[in-house]
Symmetry: C2
Subunit: 300 residues, 2 copies
């Protein structure tokens, strides 16, 4: 249910997610302290928590209870944070800032950053299994969640997308089709998985799950195009990172290929298509609809 | 059951594990081809498959069926291979050879090696969930396996051990206690987890599981001491890597701290203690006992 207004819904979700992650992870003084400090540094760096919030809103859209889904939604953020830490590494995108702070490897060194990413990825699956064993949801459903998340993030999902992204940098003559493929795998799959996981845990039947999947796919693409647009148009102080980075490193982006105005139109069309998929859903899908709007209208 | 003799038992297990991994993983031409080539390069590089074999033998020791446990044992090897690929990275141990072949990053470049490790780690959990959903073992048990593996390999397990190992390199005045702690976390926990997972899936009660745990702990430590000894005494052509590397990079080792002769004695004592834990087990624990011997008497 939409809790007061959308802004407070997002805020409430964010608070619940952060509180749970805070209590689940070993404290910053737990041995080896350095790894736990590095993990917390990136995890609590002010992320928007879009993926777990999508997961919660998706569960609510099919009548699921937010509290029951929370631990699994939070685990998605662990996995997302691992991907950011590894993508920023010198051998990958070689980024210095992320969300206005030094990247993990700039702060803690490369070996610690690699290990912090590894630990975050591992913790995502561990948390799902542990919370699954302690909760009331059928273990079989929890296994489906793990399979969903693993498939989305493995060699044919996120990891494959990141590889293609790096391989394509500085290359000539990239086609729009290939760029959409990279986007789909690098960002889209995890957003799609977050929405599907919410649906599965919320108790969606096959029909509703396939509608949620369509929503997740469109919303995921819109999210990435919006990201590319922000890299051209966004304010550095709001984004917490230098703009124009994509262009500087010869990265292919949607606005770079089709121009800013068509990119904006595409994002708007994708948002409409995402919303269309939810047409048969009632008011309980309102938060999910609001997130689709937020995705293309955010400023960071 | 000991199948003919121990050598053929090991050979049979290895074959079954490799066949399953071969058929489970995306083929080397599956897109993106580079990541799948890199994954297969390290996974099929002639590893001994000690951890999955320990898992299978542990399941058999409590009356479990090898076929039923096989997919979960094989998944442990995916996780082990990820740890090798990441440990070899320039920012970590910076190794050039592993098992007589160039390390993954020397062969495919650093970014691909990081991603191949990430994909292997992800695939381990994905494979367990997928095979768990398709098999006959209770989903709750499968979740326990995931929790076991995740705890062993996360920030307070393997990842923590690797961090401590890197941090301690070149430092003066390391105590034996600290070294044992690093060993326990870097190698011991995964061997212990492999044995426990076999026990859980094989249907061990609390008593037998705690005996298997004791076995796994002792065998894990013996394994790491034997590894350190091989780095001093082993033949390069048998090991497939340069010997004396530990000393060269200022790495602390067991023989380095207490001398070769006491190190050998310690390994023998640990093996005896591991075997003691299995005293109440019948002939079905014979493969497990043989592996304990093999661990300290292997030549690579």
């Amino acid at each position: 249910m939409l809790n007061g207004n959308f802004k407070s819904y997002m805020g409430d979700c964010r608070l619940e997610i952060d509180r749970l992650l805070e209590s689940y992870l070993p404290g910053p003084t737990c041995e080896p302290a350095l790894i736990h400090e590095a993990i917390r540094y990136s995890l609590f760096a002010g992320g928007k928590r879009i993926r777990p919030i999508l997961c919660l809103a998706s569960a609510e859209a099919v009548g699921g209870r937010r509290e029951a889904v929370l631990p699994f939604a939070a685990a998605i953020e662990l996995l997302h944070t691992y991907s950011l830490v590894h993508d920023d590494l010198p051998a990958m995108d070689n980024d210095t800032y992320r969300r206005g702070k030094l990247t993990n490897h700039k702060m803690f060194g490369e070996s610690t950053a690699i290990l912090a990413g590894d630990a975050l990825l591992t913790a995502a699956f561990t948390m799902i299994a542990e919370k699954g064993l302690a909760g009331a949801i059928a273990p079989k459903k929890i296994l489906k969640v793990i399979l969903e998340l693993g498939s989305a993030s493995g060699s044919t999902g996120m990891v494959g997308g990141q590889l293609n992204d790096i391989e394509s940098q500085g290359k000539e003559g990239l086609f729009l089709e290939k760029l959409m493929d990279i986007h789909t795998h690098k960002t889209g799959v995890l957003i799609r998985a977050a929405v599907r996981i919410g649906g599965i845990l919320g108790g969606a039947g096959p029909k509703k799950l396939s509608l949620l999947t369509a929503f997740g796919e469109k919303a995921g693409l819109a999210f990435q195009i919006a990201d590319d647009i922000l890299d051209v148009e966004g304010k550095e102080e709001t984004l917490g990172k230098s703009v124009g980075q994509d262009r500087k490193r010869g990265k292919w982006t949607y606005p770079g290929l089709v121009g800013l105005s068509r990119a904006k139109k595409e994002a708007a069309v994708l948002t409409e298509e995402a919303l269309d998929a939810l047409k048969s859903f009632g008011p309980e899908a309102e938060p999910l609809r609001q997130i689709a709007h937020y995705i293309t209208h955010r400023e960071k």
